[in-house]
Symmetry: C2
Subunit: 571 residues, 2 copies
C-alpha cells in the first residue's frame, strides 16, 4: 500500500482556503514561516511514506498481544515509533520549554493526518500522548511538568487516557474508580478501566496514564471526578523510571480492526498517582484534552480517507474492464462513469473534511495566539463537526474504496478492507458521533447560535462576493447557508433539548455539507478554470443538495420519534 503525502493539498488549503497567514501573522506563531512549514510537512510526509506506511498491513496481520502480562506490539512498530520520536513528531505543538516546537495546531493537524493515513494503529499512540501533554501543560503542577513533559514530548514515554469503565461509557459521571489520599501528597487509585488505547507497549521506557477517579468526598456524577497521573513505573529522583506501580493490563480486546493498537482493560490496585488540576476538576481538565483529541480523531478519519482514496485511485487507473468512455480502448475502470463518480466523491469529501479540520485548527491557533473569545467559540463550534464529519468521511470513503475494487475489495490482501475495519472505531471513541452532535446542538449553541451565525455571515459574505465570478457555484452555497441559518434559528428556539437531539446527527451532517460547499467555493475562486474548481462543481451540484433532506430531518423534533415506543420497536 504505497502512500504519497498530499503536501500540495495542505499548501493550497493553507494559502487559499483556511487563511493560515492569519495565524503566522501573530507574534505567537511568527516563526512558522512558509519555508519552515514546507520543510516540516515534507519531512513528516517522507517518514510517513517510507517508514510508517509499510507497517499498516503487518499491524493488521500480527495484532498486539498480551504475553504473561506484557504487551507485545506488532512487528516493526517499535522501529516506527522510534522514527516518530526521533523526528520530533510526537508533539510538534508542545511547549518549547519542555522540548516541543511550539508549532501551530494547524501544522500538527496536517502531520497527524499523514501519520494516520500511513498507519492508523501506530499513530494512535502519539495522538494519545499529545492529549496527555496538552492536559499536563494546562493543568499539572510545575513538578509534574518538569518530570513528565520532556519524556512525553521526546517520545521516550507514552501517555494514555483512562475514562471509560464498564458501566460508564458515554456517561463518564457514572465511574467508580476511587482515589484515596496518601500522606505524601500522592493518591492511591483503585478500579478498572476499559477501552484503553495503547494501554501498554514494549517500546517506550514508561507509560503514563491519565485516570479519572473519585476522591472520598467527590459527589456523584461528573462534578465529583478528579484527574490523576499514574505512571507504569514510578519516576526516581533523577527522573528515570523506577519501581513498577500497582497497575496491570488485564486483557486486550479482539477488535474489528486497528489490530496493531492494543486496547486494554486496565486494573489499578491502589496504584500511586498524582492529582492534575484541582480536586473535583477532572472533567474540566479532560475537556481541555478532549477538544484537541477530538480534532485529532477527526484527522484520523480524514487520513484514512486519503489513504483509501489513493489506494482505490491507483487500482482504478490500472484495472481494465469493459468498454469505457475512452474510444481507443486504452481506458481503465476510472473511465466508467460510476467509478469516476465514486472517486470524485471520495476526493471531494476528503477535501471538505480536511478543510473543516484545518479551519478548526486555525481557530484554535488564533484563540491561543490572541486570547480572543470569538476565535475560541469558533474552535469550540467546529470541533464536534470535525470529529464526526471527519470520521464519517473516513468510513464512507473507505467503504467506497472497497466498492471501487469490486470483488478484490472484499479480499484482505488487497488492503481496501483494512481501511474500513480500522477506521470504524473513530466514529465511536473520543465521544461517539452521536455525542458530538449533541454537543453541537446543545453546549455549542448555549450562546444562542452566535458562533454559528458568525460563521454563516462569513460564508454568505464570501458567497455573495463570488456570485459575479462563479454564479452557478456561489448561488447554491449562499442558499444552503440560508437554510442552515434557518435551521440553527429553529434549533436554538427549542427549549426542550430532546427536540434538538432527535435530529442532531442529520443536523451535524448537513452543517458539514454546507461548510464543505463553502470551502470548495473558496478553492474554486482561487483556481477558476482549474482542477479544484471542477471538483468544487462536482461537490456543489451533486453532494451539497443533500443538505435539504438532512435539515428536514434535523427539524422533525422529538414528537414522532418518542411516539415510537420501545414496544413499537420490538413489535
Amino acid at each position: 500500500m504505497p502512500y504519497r503525502a498530499p503536501i500540495s493539498d495542505y499548501r493550497f488549503l493553507f494559502d487559499h482556503v483556511v487563511d493560515f497567514k492569519t495565524v503566522t501573522d501573530t507574534d505567537r506563531f511568527a516563526e512558522a514561516t512558509p519555508d519552515m512549514v514546507d520543510a516540516i510537512l515534507t519531512e513528516a510526509g517522507k517518514m510517513c511514506e517510507e517508514i510508517l506506511a509499510p507497517l499498516q498491513r503487518p499491524g493488521d496481520l500480527n495484532p498486539a498481544r498480551l504475553e504473561n502480562g506484557v504487551v507485545r506490539t506488532s512487528p516493526g512498530f517499535a522501529e516506527g515509533h522510534k522514527a516518530i520520536a526521533e523526528g520530533g513528531w510526537v508533539a510538534i505543538a508542545a511547549d518549547p520549554e519542555y522540548g516541543g516546537m511550539g508549532l501551530p495546531m494547524t501544522v500538527t493537524t496536517a502531520v497527524n493526518e499523514m501519520m494516520s493515513a500511513a498507519c492508523l494503529s501506530l499513530q494512535l499512540n502519539p495522538l494519545m500522548t499529545q492529549g496527555q501533554i496538552e492536559a499536563l501543560e494546562h493543568h499539572a503542577s510545575d513538578a509534574i511538568k518538569q518530570t513528565y513533559l520532556p519524556k512525553l514530548i521526546s517520545g521516550a514515554w507514552a501517555g494514555t487516557m483512562n475514562l471509560t469503565e464498564p458501566q460508564a461509557g458515554s456517561d463518564v459521571g457514572a465511574l467508580r474508580t476511587k482515589a484515596e489520599p496518601n500522606n505524601d501528597g500522592s493518591y492511591s487509585i483503585t478500579g478498572q478501566k476499559i477501552y484503553i488505547s495503547w494501554g501498554d507497549n514494549d517500546f517506550t521506557e514508561n507509560v503514563c496514564h491519565l485516570v479519572l477517579a473519585r476522591l472520598p468526598d467527590g459527589v456523584p456524577g461528573t462534578k465529583g471526578i478528579s484527574l490523576f497521573l499514574v505512571p507504569k513505573y514510578l519516576p526516581k529522583e533523577d527522573g528515570t523510571p523506577g519501581v513498577a506501580n500497582d497497575l496491570r493490563v488485564v486483557s486486550l480486546e479482539h477488535k474489528m480492526g486497528l489490530h496493531g493498537s492494543p486496547t486494554a482493560v486496565m486494573e489499578y490496585a491502589g496504584a500511586k498517582g498524582w492529582l492534575v488540576g484541582g480536586e473535583h476538576d477532572g472533567m474540566k481538565c479532560m475537556f481541555t484534552m478532549m477538544n484537541n483529541a477530538r480534532l485529532g480523531v477527526g484527522g484520523q478519519g480524514i487520513g484514512v480517507a486519503e489513504g483509501a482514496y489513493q489506494h482505490a485511485l491507483a487500482y482504478a487507473m490500472d484495472r481494465k474492464q469493459g468498454r469505457t468512455s475512452v474510444e481507443d480502448g486504452t481506458g481503465t475502470i476510472v473511465d466508467h462513469a460510476d467509478v469516476r463518480r465514486m472517486l470524485a466523491t471520495m476526493k471531494a469529501e476528503v477535501f471538505a473534511a480536511r478543510a473543516i479540520a484545518l479551519a478548526n485548527a486555525v481557530a484554535i491557533d488564533m484563540a491561543t495566539a490572541t486570547g480572543d473569545a470569538d476565535w475560541a467559540a469558533r474552535a469550540a463550534l467546529l470541533t464536534p463537526v470535525t470529529k464526526a464529519f471527519g470520521t464519517d468521511t473516513g468510513i464512507a470513503v473507505a467503504d467506497l474504496g472497497v466498492q471501487v475494487h469490486g470483488g478484490m475489495g472484499f479480499i484482505e490482501e488487497t488492503g481496501a478492507a483494512q481501511y474500513c475495519r480500522d477506521v470504524r472505531v473513530t466514529a465511536i471513541y473520543e465521544g461517539t458521533n452521536g455525542i458530538q452532535s449533541m454537543d453541537l446542538v446543545a453546549r455549542k449553541m448555549m450562546d444562542g447560535g452566535e458562533a454559528a451565525f458568525d460563521l454563516l455571515d462569513e460564508i454568505e459574505t464570501f458567497a455573495e462576493a463570488a456570485k459575479s465570478e462563479l454564479p452557478d457555484l456561489a448561488e447554491p452555497v449562499w442558499q444552503a447557508a440560508e437554510t442552515l441559518r434557518e435551521t440553527v434559528e429553529w434549533l436554538v428556539a427549542q427549549k426542550d433539548l430532546t427536540d434538538r437531539f432527535a435530529g442532531s446527527v442529520p443536523f451535524l451532517k448537513g452543517f458539514a455539507r454546507v461548510l464543505g460547499g463553502y470551502y470548495h467555493l473558496r478553492a474554486a475562486m482561487a483556481d477558476t478554470g482549474g482542477a479544484r474548481a471542477r471538483l468544487a462543481r462536482f461537490y456543489i451540484s451533486r453532494l451539497l443538495p443533500e443538505h435539504r433532506g438532512l435539515f428536514a430531518h434535523a427539524r422533525a423534533g422529538s414528537g414522532d420519534l418518542f411516539a415510537l415506543s420501545p414496544e413499537d420497536l420490538a413489535a
Copy 2:
C-alpha cells in the same frame, strides 16, 4: 446472538402491503393457502432460530479452509446444511416434478431472508443451488434435469455459479475459459474461475458447477459464451456420484467477512461438462438465473439488516447509560433520542427494503402464473432495486448496529461487527450495486420508462386516495412520486447512456426511497393509529426527504463528471 424469525411482519406485508392474495388467487399458486404459508414460515423460522443462528459466530471464528485440496467447512455447518436439506428448504419454489414444492417466489424470499439473518455464510450455499436449479429447469435437457434436479432440490448435491475470471469481472464477455466438444456429446472445459462461492464443501455428495465458457466457434464478447454443467463427480448410470472430474479448488480467499463460506479459485483442466441451453446462449441462461439470484442477494442484505437490528435493539433495551427521557430512572439507552433515532431508522429501512423485495417477488410469481408481460416488466424493473437497496440497507443497518453498541460494537465478541463484515460483499457480488444501477437506467428503461410509469401510476393513485385519511403522509409520498416521474422522464430522454450512468447510483437510491415511502404509506393505511403508522411517519418525515438531493444528483449528467480528468483526480 439469538434471532427471532419476524413471521408477523411477513404476514402483515403479505396481507396489507404487497397484495400476496393476487398470487394465491392464480391457479398456479392456489395451493399456497394462508394456513400453508403460515406453517411454512413458522417451521422455517424455527429452524433458523434454533439451528442456523447458533452457527453464525463459529463460522466466523473457524473459517472454511483448504487441506490437501479438500475444503473443510466450519464447525456445525454440515449439520446445519443437513437440517436445511431435510426440512426441504433448499428450493421450496422448485418444480414438484423433481421434488420441489412449487411454492411462490414470495414465500421463498421470506424463507431465504430468515436463513440469511440467522447465518449468512451457510445460507449462501442453498442460494447458489437455487440459482442452479432455476437455470436447469429453464434451459437444460430432460436427461440433465432427471439426473441433477432431484439431487439438487433435496440438498444431496450443491450447485455453484462460475462466471468470473481474473480479467473478466463485471465484464463477463472477456472470459477465456474454453469448451471443446468431445465425441460423446459432452465437452472438455479448461480455464480458471475466481470468486466461486461455496466452490466445494465436505457435506454434500457432489458439487455441480455451472460454468460459462467459449466454444471454439464462439465469437469474442458475451455473444460467444455458452453455459456448461460440470460436476465434481461424474454421475454413474444409476445417478450416484462416480469418478472425480478434472477440476479442483486451487485456493480459498481470505476475506473481510463471510468466513464460513469458502470462496474458491477453481481450475478446470479439461473437465467434462454438458451444454445447458443452446450453443452461444450462455448469457441468456445466466440471466434467467441471475435475476432471481439478485432478488436472493437483496434478501441477504435484508436478512442481515433484520439480524443486526434485533441484536442492537436487545442491547439498547438492556444497557443503562446516562440520564434518559424516562424520568423515574429506569430508562435504558433506547430512551436516548439519538439511539431511538438509530433504531427507528434501522426498523424503517428493513421494512422498506423487505416490502420492495416482496413486491418484486409477487411480480415474479404473477409473471410465472399468468405469463403477463407487464408483470414480467415490473419484476425486471424492481430486481436491481431490490438487489442494490437490499444490500445497501444491510450495510447501513449493520453499521448503525455497531454504532448503537458504542465501544462494544468494535469488539468482535459482541457480534455486531460480524454483521458488518459479512454483509459487505453483498453489494459487490452478483453484479456490483453500480452494475445494478446501470441495469436500472439502461436495460430496464429500454421501454421508454413504461414499467416505471406504471408503477408510479399505482403509487400516485394510492397516495391520492390516502390523502383524505392520512394527508400528512400521503401528500409527501405523492410529491416524491412526481419528482421520481420527472427524473425518469429526464433519464429516458438522455440518448447518451453515460449521462444516465453518471447519476445512476443516486437515482436507484432515490427510487428506493420513493418505493419505501409508498409501502410505508400502505402499512400506515392498514394500521392507522398503530405502530406501523408511527413507523411510516418516521420514515416519511425523516428519510423520504432524502430523495430530493438524490434526484438532483441523478440529473447532473456526465459533463461535470468527465470534466474531472484522471489527472485531476490524481493531482
